[in-house]
Assembly symmetry: C2
Homo-oligomer: 279 residues x 2
């Protein structure tokens, strides 16, 4: 039970955190912080926050927990602002899709109060905004918590407990391991889904069925948010792209040379990995 | 209302056709035809067929409508067998994922009775078997009907009416246009989903979340069935792969040169196409 939680950025993730805390009775007061009054009011109307403010310093002043849910390119700046005005005991975390730049930059120079531990709840890829928020968004959702050598164990545990209280399954890795892994299982799939969608002509799309819709679904996500993610994690994404293109060139050869057994072998390799994850 | 419908191959598609006919009261008798007695009995237990036989000639002898739902590489042979023993008025169609080879081979030499019109219901990509069949599988499902110059209009309409009676939305194209379009919106996505799944390492898969699961879902489909589809349609698939790899190389360049505006432009192109199709 938190006395006061401040959420910076009340879109899909921030809004769902507020609604999840509220519906589980986990916070006495939830403060929404943002720049856009309409979006903040929408979050309040949906029950995600108790009250809201456009003033970050005021919003975090008495907060025990601060969750920064703004786009990747703004997280460092918002965490630093929060640390300037929050109580000394406050726990600060974020929900950014990349971790190395954010955690290393903050660890290299930490001036204010509070204690930062990086997080990445892997939820909600193609929708956005508080209108899509739901209290159970994090139920069963993998959430990565990424301490550095500077992070104290008690703070890692407190942040892990916070996500678990919303139903998340917490995985702990270094910021760098996180970025390498999500390049493979999140950023590359996003890139590929987008390229696949872009490569289809309007005439072809008349026949787009369930397979196309599943494979390209994440391409509907916000372009500006994802540009920041790709820019931040581009080295790891390029490495994953190399690996993917190697498999693709095996496919090309099998098709060009009409090698049925190679096609079966390729299809079975994909099926094995896919089946290992489940529905 | 059909007096007798014969279904050759009672897996996901054949089983769902039988269950759909039954639940809508569209056929007096439904005959299941196949080689595997266990699978045939499962189809009967699920209510997909009235009775079954391993003898194709016996199964189609009094059928008004014959639907061949076997793997792509066997469809021509099964349609030919059916046409030898079916009544002269019988309508024959199939459910194969490729159409040019099947329709052109059959049109070039048609000896038996009955009238063939090719079909492709675009449903059920990653599951298989009568255990996954459902009576409403074709509800809202795009089904392509592919007449050739030799096909009579009344037969095209009868086959279209059959799929519509199961809830499908029928689209009519030539077999060649069908194969080009599905290469882009079904076969290439399948290839890419499989390559993406294969390119992930077991360690990365610990972080596989909703985006990865959506993007790779179809890679769980039966490898042998899909090898036949790729082999049959490899020329069109290679053309679609060319187009996809062009987009991929633009992504590579934007990442290597750290061009944020190019990344946004690429993401927006994918989003535009994806959003045009809907959920």
């Amino acid at each position: 039970m938190w006395d006061r939680v401040a959420i910076v950025g009340v879109g899909l993730i921030g809004g769902s955190i507020g609604m999840g805390l509220r519906s589980r009775g986990l916070a006495r007061t939830i403060v929404g912080i943002g720049r856009n009054e309409q979006r903040l009011q929408l979050a309040k109307d949906r029950g995600a926050v108790s009250w809201w403010t456009g003033d970050l310093g005021q919003g975090v002043a008495e907060a025990d927990l601060i969750v920064v849910c703004t786009p990747v390119a703004h997280i460092v700046e918002h965490v630093r602002q929060a640390s300037r005005d929050c109580p000394a005991h406050a726990l600060i975390t974020d929900a950014g899709s990349t971790k190395a730049t954010i955690c290393r930059t903050l660890a290299a120079r930490w001036e204010g109060g509070g204690h930062f531990v990086g997080s990445h709840p892997m939820a909600g890829s193609e929708k956005s905004g508080a209108q899509s928020a739901e209290p159970d968004l994090f139920e069963g959702c993998i959430t990565v918590v990424t301490p550095t050598a500077e992070t104290r164990e008690e703070h890692v545990e407190a942040v892990s407990g916070f996500w678990q209280s919303l139903g998340a399954r917490v995985v702990r890795t270094s910021p760098e391991d996180h970025d390498r892994a999500v390049a493979a299982v999140s950023h590359l799939p996003h890139l590929v889904a987008s390229a696949l969608a872009a490569a289809a002509s309007p005439d072809d799309l008349l026949l787009a069925a369930g397979g196309w819709r599943d494979t390209t679904r994440v391409a509907s996500a916000d372009a500006a948010l994802w540009q920041q993610i790709f820019t931040d994690n581009r080295a790891s994404v390029l490495q994953s792209l190399d690996k993917f293109e190697k498999v693709l060139s095996q496919w090309r050869r099998a098709l060009e040379e009409n090698q049925a057994t190679d096609l079966v072998r390729l299809l079975e390799a994909g099926k094995r990995n896919r089946d290992s994850v489940g529905n």
